[in-house]
Amino acid sequence: MERNTKLHGLVALFDTPDQIIHAAEKVSHSGYKDFDIHTPYPVHGMDDAMKLKPSKLGYVTLVFGLSGAAFALLLMWWTMVVDYPMNIGGKPFFSLPAFIPVTFELTVLFATLATVIGMITFFFRFPDNKHPLHDTPYMQQVSRDKYGVFIGASDPKFNAKEVRALFESLGGKQISEIMEFEKTWQDAFNPKFIGILVTTVILVSGGTYFTLNKLLYITPFNWMEHQFRGVPQEKSDFFADSRMMREPVAGSVARGHMPYEFKDSVAQPADPLENPLVNSAEVFRLGQKKYLTFCSPCHGNYGDGDSRLNQQFPNPPSLHTAKLREWKDGNIYHVITNGQNVMPSYSHQMTVKERWAVVSYIRALQKAKNASETEIEQFRKENTSNGN
C-alpha cells in the first residue's frame, strides 16, 4: 500500500519502562487527547500515567453471562416442560438441580465468547491491518523491546514542532513522522467482491442445508438396520412360493380368535353355546350401541320388526316372538354369527364380546316388552326406594 503526504502523527521511542511512564505522564498532562503508548507488554502503572478510565469490559461479560443463564433455563424449561414433557424416574418435569450443569456451562460460554468478541470488535475495532502504524520501523521496535509514544495529527492541540520539542525534552529517540496510507475505496460492484459474497452465501446456505437435511441422515454403514433376515412383504429366493411371510402352521389359533364351533351348520345347533357375559350396565350399554348400529335398520329400534325396510325386503321378523323368547342365548348368537337365510352374518363387523352383548340386550328388550304387572310394580318400587 502506498503512503501519501498526509501526516498521521509523530512517534518517539524510549529505552526503559521508567522513561515511558514518565513520557506518558507528561504527554497526558500537556493536554493531548489523541495520543497512545505502545509497549511490547503491558507496563504496570500505565493506566494512571495515561489517565485512562477503568475498562468497561466487565459489563459486557455480566450482561451476556446473565443472558446465557436465562437462555439455558428457558430452553430447558420449554423443551422439558412444555414441548415434550418426559417422565424420567418420576422426577418433576422442571428439575432445577439437574439443570444446573447446563445452565452453568452456557453462562460461561456466553460470557467468555461475548467478552472476547466484544473486546476485539467493539473495543479494539479489529481486525485492522491497514492502520498507518503498521509496517513502520517504529512498530517493529515496540513489538520487540522498545517503548513508544505516539501523538496523532488529529489532536486539536497538535503542532508538529511543539510535539517534536516535547519528545526531545523527554529524551525520546528516533522521532519520526507517520504518514497516512493512500485510501483505496472498495467498489461495492467490484466483480471480485460480488463473487466472494455470492460464494459465501452459497457455501453457508448449502452447508447448512446439507448438514441438517442430508449429513445427519447419512448412514455410511447400515449393517445394524439392514441385517440378514427376512422382512414381511419382501420377495424370498428361498421359499418355493417366493414370499418372505409364512402361513401359520395348520390348526394354529391366534389369541382372541377362537373359531366358532358351529360355523358351518345352517341349522340351529342342538346344544348351543352359553352366554359368557354377566349382566351389567356396561354390557347392556355395549349391546345397545351395537344393536342400534347393526340390527335396528332391519329389526326396528325395539326389535318389533317394524323398521322402514318392512315391505321392501323379505320382512325382518320381530324379535319378541314366543319362539325367540324360548331360544337359548346361544341360538341368537348363532344367527348373528352365521346369519340365517337372507340375514347376513355379522361375525366380521362385531367381536365375540359385542355379539354376546347384543344378545343380552335383546333379552332385556324382550323382558321390557313382556314384563308382568307384578314385575313392573317391583321395578317401580326398587327405583323409587333408590330415590329416583
Binding site: 526503559t16 519502562p17 521508567d18 515511558i20 497512545d36 503508548i37 505502545h38 509497549t39 511490547p40 507488554y41 503491558p42 504496570h44 502503572g45 500505565m46 493506566d47 495515561m50 485512562l52 475498562s55 469490559l57 466487565g58 423443551t79 415434550y84 424420567i88 422426577k91 439437574a98 439443570f99 450443569p101 447446563v102 452453568f104 456451562e105 452456557l106 460461561v108 467468555t112 465468547l113 467478552t115 472476547v116 473486546m119 473495543f123 479494539f124 479489529f126 481486525p127 485492522d128 491491518n129 492502520h131 502504524l133 503498521h134 512498530m139 517493529q140 515496540v142 513489538s143 520487540r144 523491546d145 448438514t211 449429513l215 445427519l216 447419512i218 448412514t219 454403514f221 449393517w223 445394524m224
Partner: protein, 456 residues
C-alpha cells in the same frame, strides 16, 4: 545445590534481555525443520494412522470389534476419554488458576500447557463420539429443532458432558488465542517471509501493542481466567457424574467430583512435565522453562498424588463404614479380585512413586522425574480403567458377572489418540511461540518500572 526458597526465584535465568528472549522463543519458527523433527513427526503420524485404521474398522463393523461385552459395556472408550480430559486440565490450571493466584512462574509454561489442553480435549472428543456406535449421527447430541419433534434429555449426565466438554474446548481455545494475538503481532513484525507475514498479520488481527488495547486486554485476561477456573472444576465434576449419578456400586459415591478433579490435575501435570522436559531440551529453552519450574510442578504432582491416595483410602473406608454389602464387595473385589493386577499398578504408580518427590535432589533431577511422571501417567490411566471396568464386571447379579479383555482395536484407538496428541504438539512447536513472548517479557528482570513497584 542450595536454594533459598524464602526468596522468589527469578523466572528467567541467564540475564537475557527482552530481545534475546524473543529471539530464543521465535527461533524454532524461523528455522527449517531438522531431520530429527521429521523423524519424530513420522513416528507420531504412524501412531495416528494406527488409530485411524482402528477407527475405520470400528465405523465399518460397528463397536462390536471392541472388547466391550455384557456386563462391561463401558471400557476403553470412557477410560480414554476421562484420561484425555484429565490431561487437559493441567493446562487450564496453569493458565487460569495459577494466574489468579499470581504465580508468575506459570508464564513460562502456560502457553504450552494451554496448547496441551486443547489437543487433549480434541483426543478426548474422539471417544464419546465414536462410542455412540453411529458417529455420523452425533449431531443429534445437540438440542436443535428437528422433524423428529424430539429434544435431548437435559437431566442426563451424558448430556451435561456434551455441554461441559464443548464449552471447555471453546473457552480454552479462545483463551489460548487471546494470549496468542500479541505474539502473532511480534512474529508479524519479525518475519521476512511473505506467506508467513500474511498469515501472522491475519491472526494478529492488526494488534499494535497499544496501551489503550492492553488495558482491556489485561481485563479480559482476568475475566477469562475467572471463568476458566470454575469451568475446569465443573468439567471434571460432570465427567465424574457420568459415573456417580448411576447406581452401580463403586460408582455411586459423592467423593467422585473432588477425587476426579485432583486426579485430573495430577495426571495433567505429569503429562506437562513429560513433554516439557523434551521441549526445553530440543529448543534450548532451559533458561526460560527452568529446573525451578519443573520442580514446582513436581511439588504439585506430589500434593495431588497424595489427594488421590487419600481418595483411594476413603473409598475403602466408606465401603466398609456404609455397611452396604455390594459396595464392600466391589472394593474387596478391586483389590483382590480378577482385576487386582490393575488395581495394584494404579496404587503403586499413583501413590508410592510420587513419594520420591519429597527429596529435593530427586525433585530436581531430570531422569528421576522423567521416570516418575511416566509412572504417574500409566497409573492414572489405570485408575480410570479400574473405576470403570472393575465396577462393571461384577455388579449386583452374580449370574451376570464377566471379564473384560480389550481387543487390538481398543489398543489401536488408544495409540492413535497419542499419535494425534503428539502430532499436534509437534506442529504447534514449529508454528507458534511455545512460550508467551509478551508475557515472559513482562516478568523478565527490569521489565517493569521501578517506582511503581513492578513486583506485586
Amino acid at each position: 545445590m542450595n536454594i533459598d526458597y524464602s526468596k522468589e526465584l527469578p523466572i528467567v535465568q541467564g540475564r537475557l534481555s527482552l530481545g534475546e528472549l524473543e529471539d530464543l522463543i521465535a527461533k524454532p519458527m524461523s528455522e527449517k525443520p531438522t531431520p530429527k523433527y521429521y523423524i519424530a513427526l513420522a513416528i507420531t503420524l504412524t501412531l495416528l494412522m494406527i488409530g485411524a485404521t482402528s477407527l475405520g474398522f470400528t465405523f465399518y463393523y460397528g463397536t462390536g470389534v471392541w472388547g466391550n461385552n455384557q456386563p462391561v459395556g463401558w471400557a476403553f472408550d470412557i477410560v480414554n476419554f476421562v484420561f484425555c480430559v484429565g490431561i487437559g486440565h493441567a493446562g487450564t490450571l496453569i493458565s487460569a488458576i495459577l494466574f489468579l493466584l499470581r504465580q508468575k512462574w506459570r508464564t513460562a509454561i502456560a502457553r504450552f500447557a494451554e496448547a496441551m489442553t486443547i489437543f487433549a480435549v480434541m483426543c478426548a472428543g474422539i471417544f464419546p463420539a465414536v462410542h455412540t456406535g453411529r458417529p455420523w449421527l452425533d449431531g443429534w447430541l445437540l438440542p436443535y429443532p428437528n422433524q423428529h419433534g424430539l429434544w435431548v434429555n437435559f437431566t442426563s449426565p451424558l448430556l451435561w458432558d456434551v455441554f461441559a466438554v464443548s464449552t471447555y474446548f471453546t473457552v480454552s481455545a479462545v483463551f489460548w488465542y487471546i494470549g496468542l494475538i500479541p505474539d502473532f503481532a511480534v512474529m508479524r513484525d519479525r518475519t521476512t517471509g511473505k506467506v508467513k507475514k500474511f498469515l501472522y498479520s491475519l491472526f494478529s488481527l492488526g494488534w499494535r501493542h497499544s496501551h489503550r488495547n492492553w488495558q482491556h486486554y489485561e481485563k479480559s485476561y482476568v475475566i477469562l481466567a475467572g471463568f476458566a477456573t470454575p469451568l475446569v472444576l465443573s468439567v471434571h465434576t460432570i465427567v465424574s457424574f457420568d459415573f456417580a449419578v448411576s447406581i452401580i456400586p463403586g460408582w455411586h459415591t459423592t467423593i467422585f467430583p473432588p477425587y476426579f478433579v485432583a486426579g485430573a490435575i495430577f495426571s495433567g501435570f505429569a503429562m506437562v512435565v513429560t513433554v516439557l522436559v523434551f521441549v526445553r531440551k530440543v529448543f534450548d529453552l532451559e533458561n526460560i522453562i527452568t529446573i525451578d519450574h519443573l520442580e514446582k510442578m513436581n511439588k504439585v504432582i506430589l500434593a495431588t498424588g497424595m489427594m488421590v491416595g487419600y481418595a483411594y483410602a476413603m473409598e475403602f473406608f466408606i465401603a466398609w463404614y456404609s455397611g452396604v454389602q455390594f459396595e464392600t464387595f466391589v472394593f474387596i473385589n478391586r483389590a483382590f479380585g480378577p482385576y487386582a493386577w490393575a488395581y495394584w499398578i494404579m496404587v503403586s504408580c499413583n501413590v508410592i512413586f510420587p513419594q520420591f518427590f519429597w527429596f529435593k535432589k530427586l525433585r530436581r533431577s531430570i531422569p528421576v522425574m522423567m521416570v516418575i511422571v511416566i509412572f504417574v501417567n500409566v497409573g492414572m490411566w489405570f485408575e480410570r480403567f479400574v473405576i470403570t471396568v472393575t465396577s462393571l464386571h461384577r455388579d449386583f447379579l452374580p449370574s451376570s458377572w464377566g471379564y473384560y479383555v480389550p481387543t487390538i482395536f481398543d489398543f489401536g484407538i488408544l495409540i492413535g489418540s497419542f499419535g494425534l496428541f503428539f502430532t499436534l504438539v509437534l506442529l504447534f512447536v514449529k508454528a507458534m511461540p511455545v512460550v508467551a513472548i509478551s508475557e515472559i517479557k513482562a516478568v523478565a528482570d527490569g521489565a517493569q518500572p521501578t517506582h511503581h513497584g513492578g513486583d506485586h
